[in-house]
Amino acid sequence: MAISFEIVFFGVFAGIAVILAIMMLSVKSPVHAALCLVGVMIMLAILYLMLHAYFLSVVQIVVYAGAVMVLFLFVIMFFYSPGASDPSRMSVHFTHIAGAIILAVILLAVITGSFLLSGNVSLTEKPSAAQMTDIEKPIAETSEAPLTEETSRMIEKQNPQLVGRMLFTKYLLPFELTSLLLLAAMVGAVVLARRSPPAEAGSAGGDGND
């Protein structure tokens, strides 16, 4: 069977993502590194599209590639002076190479194992419904047909409507708690990045909590 279009698309975008991720670590300028990271995130957003996660794909671009990376770029511009080279990056330690080799071996082992051992599931016959716990039941129902036509037809209905409905009904409490988290993070960021707290506390006239 010939190689399908889908895998060609996947290969192109995943390859670009991996290359950009490697470039992120290898380029000298931190601004270029941040732009490479933006590229990785956009490629991942395309992979989300291929996985029918449409809403998430847009969120990835807007929040990650937009907001978070603009924050990073602001801070990089704040510190970065183009003339100054980073001497610590030039020295390639022996430990760095050893770490890279160890990580690469582990990665290869994991990938090969996941490819080769995955089919083992089918050797045992499908457990009967009586043997399954309640948690396992729906999983076992759908794990039979990964990415087949029927599954992808069901996935097609995973539109933003469904995400929003679940986010605001079943997962309402965690969703509201994240707003609290974001508020705490915002206050924390403002307090941490405030300029020279002792002087301000002195000028504010004694309500000086740090």
Partner: protein
């Protein structure tokens, strides 16, 4: 069904009974499946992890952490497509089966927390720079001894 039998082919049994391991892997690789997404996620995660342990610039470390979080997100979305909980929703004429996007919702939470982490982390970097005039992590040695 081609995809079906392919995915649940007993790969390892094939290799054990004298099949070529590389050929078996290639046979899986020819068709798009969750393995591809997991492989890409694993590669990106490893690159991010390598960045975390190698880089000394605090901002680069934070960016590498973002890379790792992105890889985990890709895992979540990929797994959601085959192991998402199936629910039956009442449609206009009949009931229809839909996969609940639990993995996508979890990914949204991860994105929110990553945004908070980036904001606080970068604020810490700025505060640290004001103290030490450096963004190198090895300069943060006040509690070293």
């Amino acid at each position: 069904m081609d995809n079906d039998s392919l995915y649940f082919l007993s790969n390892w049994a094939n290799v054990e009974s004298g099949g070529n391991a590389l050929l078996t892997m290639w046979n899986i690789f020819k068709h798009i499946s969750i393995h591809h997404y997991l492989t890409v996620a694993a590669i990106i995660f490893t690159i991010g992890f390598y960045g975390v342990i190698v880089r000394r610039n605090a901002i680069s470390i934070l960016m590498s952490i973002e890379l790792m979080l992105n890889a985990v997100n890709l895992n979540f979305v990929a797994f959601n497509q085959i192991w998402g909980l199936k629910i039956t929703r009442a449609a206009f004429t009949s009931n229809e089966d839909v996969l609940t996007p639990v993995g996508q919702i979890f990914t949204i939470f991860i994105i929110i927390i990553a945004a908070a982490e980036a904001a606080v982390g970068l604020a810490i970097v700025i505060a640290f720079y004001r103290q030490r005039h450096s963004v190198k992590v090895e300069d943060a040695d006040l509690m070293r001894w």
